[in-house]
């Protein structure tokens, strides 16, 4: 059982991406790899979380190869059949599933917070280095590239704070 929010978060990310997107993700520490700060961030998926303490967004930053791999797996199509619209839709669903699933575990009585519809944005000129090293950012490694997740707003979930201190 997860002892910390970060452990619970890592378990949830791994479960969601493996079950729905057939993609194996592990943290940088677990994988033994280090993200390249110069790697370009292709897409950002963001989902709003309203808690009693704060309103903010959980952010997911994808490398291009990983974003395309996830969408291809989710839809069960060839890479040649993929289009940007469906890829964005897939990454929005991934954000929704990940944070929704996390909240369900953190807060079974649904008193902690509510989610908004996810948004997916193309980033221009941003690299992994712009986001690495932030206090509430976790880097996940896959064979297809990196996913960074900024989960800071989840920490304001009062239910979590009450129970875990």
């Amino acid at each position: 059982m997860a002892e910390t929010l970060q452990q619970l978060l890592c378990q949830t990310v791994a479960e969601v991406y493996e079950t729905m997107f057939f993609t194996y993700l592990e943290t940088a520490e677990e994988s033994g790899y280090t993200p390249d700060p110069a790697q370009v961030v292709f897409l950002e998926a963001a989902i709003g979380l309203h808690t009693k303490a704060k309103t903010g967004e959980v952010h997911f930053y994808y490398s291009e190869a990983l974003a395309r791999h996830i969408a291809t797996n989710f839809l069960g199509i060839d890479a040649s059949q993929q289009d940007d619209s469906r890829m964005r839709d897939t990454l929005g669903e991934a954000a929704n599933m990940t944070v929704g699933s996390l909240l369900g575990k953190l807060d079974p009585q649904a008193v902690c917070g509510t989610l908004t519809m996810p948004e997916v944005r193309q980033l221009s000129g941003r690299t992994m280095g712009d986001f690495l090293g932030q206090p509430d950012t976790i880097a996940f490694h896959s064979d297809f590239g990196w996913l960074l997740m900024d989960y800071g707003v989840v920490k304001t979930c009062s239910k979590y704070q009450e129970e875990r201190g």
Binding site: R86, T90, S101
Partner: protein, 149 residues
Amino acid sequence: MAFNIMIVDDSETMRTVVKKVVSMSGVAVGEFLEAANGREALEVLEGAWVDVILSDINMPEMSGIELLRKIKQNEVLRHVPVILITTEASQARMDEAASCGAAGYIKKPFVPETIKAVLLDALEKAYAQRMQEEAPPAESGGVEENLDF
């Protein structure tokens, strides 16, 4: 026996994925019908019969919970089982869905086996309920004999 299955989700991608997962689950499908929200689903249901509805909860215009309430208030549609699919995996949300008459609740992420189990359970219960209300007690054959999945 093949079933007409309606999928209600504002994401076309998610509707595609749910269709694929249902097809993979082994449930016999006659026809898939689709709607992007609860209001659109009710419009489709005016002209088509479905055996079961799989609906997202959070959708613009009309949510899955509101769709569920409207179906349960409708004399013609009230027997159609509605299964809610959502990421909102909280007990409170599941309790709300059950109190509104949901036939089942599927949490994302899901696997084909889960979809199949919940679908078959909902179809079997709906069939049994309809038989109980509309027909004299059957002398032979039970729900399991009549539902050939």
